[in-house]
């Protein structure tokens, strides 16, 4: 098993920590993982993205040019990464602020209104967890118990009280994700 994922959005949307929790969850499941952020001069408000690879075998390069799954949180990232999903792969996106929706018909496209849902849940900080839940619904690459372990490992001790809230968000993502596949349309 090998899953190559890009997660991309604005800085501040929790892109990097979503990737980290996912990676830690996989570690809990005895997988090999790599987590590679885009890094650059600190020019906030720019895009942030992270490549996460989960695999049963040793991972060669954490820097990839095409992906099994793209998790997209803003328009710029959609524009950049839609074309980099492998045929047959998954594109999961948050609809907030998206003006041009994805159009490829050789991939599976899922939509999650996570930003909206998060503000409805009155905890915008959990948006990324809702997205994570959506991803895990679409691709159950790690088991929920390991996700919770991963969450615990990746959050600093003083934030452990937030775990239940995050768990709820993940579950919510599970529920509300929906397919908008244009595949072979």
């Amino acid at each position: 098993m090998k899953e190559e994922i890009i997660i991309a959005g604005f800085g501040g949307q929790g892109v990097l920590s979503m990737g980290k929790i996912l990676a830690y969850s996989a570690v809990m499941q005895q997988k090999e993982v790599s987590w590679m952020p885009s890094y650059g001069p600190e020019m906030r408000g720019g895009t942030a993205n992270v490549t996460v690879v989960l695999s049963d075998d040793r991972i060669s390069s954490p820097i990839l040019h095409s992906f099994d799954t793209a998790i997209i949180l803003n328009q710029q990232s959609l524009d950049k990464f839609e074309s980099k999903v492998k045929p047959g792969g998954v594109l999961l996106y948050d609809s907030n602020g998206i003006t041009h929706h994805p159009e490829r018909n050789d991939i599976n496209i899922y939509r999650i209104d996570a930003t909206e849902e998060a503000s409805r849940m009155k905890s915008t900080k959990t948006m990324n967890m809702i997205v994570l839940g959506a991803f895990l619904k679409v691709k159950p690459v790690v088991e929920m118990e390991n996700v919770l372990k991963g969450l615990k490992k990746s959050l600093p001790e003083r934030h452990h009280h937030l775990i239940p809230m995050n768990e709820k968000a993940i579950e919510r993502g599970f529920e509300i994700v929906r397919e908008v596949s244009l595949m072979n349309a």
């Binding site: 001069p41 600190e42 020019m43 906030r44 408000g45 720019g46």
Partner: protein
């Protein structure tokens, strides 16, 4: 006023003769890469305005630092050299000596000017190189992600003093501008800010003065601008300005140290 007359009034006002402020022609069309609200943008703007107003676009050579403003050559439409981290004063020295009829300015952050570049800064000022040194003191290493700068205040947090600067561990904040004022080579040494319209106007005036000094070959003009780095400080731009006025100004008081 009604909706309708409103539009009419607008059209009436929006005429060239009523133009009070528009973007300087010495600024390029490139969108600045800075974070929203970053002081660098304001300083760039007035710098361009001064160059335009004095009509010296064709004879001004800028020296950019390594820091958030490393790419400032994309924004101000003059000839530029991008110097190694801390070495802008050395780079500027040579340009000034080899092209004495040009106007040379350096632009540096606090890490660039007051940490790695301390020797070059002090010696260029001490030699009295005929150039303008612009010093953007935001109390942090903006570009590399918010590490402690030589000017980070006591107790102030940064990624390399995450619990606040402790002088015994991290050293004291450095008031380098005060030192530069004592060197015989400097003619104008002033500390300004750009957090309010009035402050911006004062800084611009200081800049105009510095450019004038160049023509008169008065030696080195040093203009420190106490600035914000809202990303590094982890505040909004508006909060940053407030925090700066409350915390930075007492330690880095604004005003002229030298004007000869």
């Amino acid at each position: 006023m009604e909706e309708n007359s409103m539009a009419e009034v607008f059209n009436d006002i929006k005429k060239p003769e009523n133009l009070v402020y528009s973007k300087s022609k010495v600024l390029t069309d490139n969108v600045m890469h800075y974070c929203p609200g970053c002081s660098h943008g304001v300083v760039h703007r007035i710098l361009a305005e001064v160059i335009e107003e004095l009509g010296v676009q064709d004879k001004t050579i800028g020296v950019a630092p390594v820091g958030c403003s490393v790419l400032m050559y994309n924004y101000i439409d003059i000839d530029w050299q991008e110097a190694a981290h801390g070495r802008a004063p050395a780079v500027g020295t040579a340009i000034n000596r080899l092209w004495p009829e040009k106007i040379v300015f350096t632009y540096q952050g606090d890490g660039d000017l007051a940490a790695i570049g301390t020797a070059e800064t002090i010696h260029a000022c001490n030699r009295g190189e005929n150039m303008i040194m612009l010093f953007i003191n935001n109390g942090i290493y903006g570009m590399t992600g918010g590490q402690m700068a030589p000017t980070t205040l006591k107790g102030m947090k940064s990624s390399t003093c995450p619990f606040g600067r402790e002088p015994a561990q991290d050293g004291n904040p450095l008031k380098i501008t005060e030192l530069l004022a004592q060197l015989p080579g400097t003619s104008l040494v002033t500390r300004q800010a750009v957090h309010t319209p009035a402050a911006v106007r004062k800084t611009k005036k200081a800049l105009l003065k510095a450019f004038e000094n160049q023509k008169q070959k008065k030696g080195t003009s040093v203009i420190e601008v106490v600035s914000t780095c809202n990303s590094g400080w982890k505040m909004t731009p508006v909060e940053s300005n407030k925090w700066m006025a409350e915390n930075m100004f007492p330690f880095y008081p604004l005003g002229d140290f030298k004007d000869e």
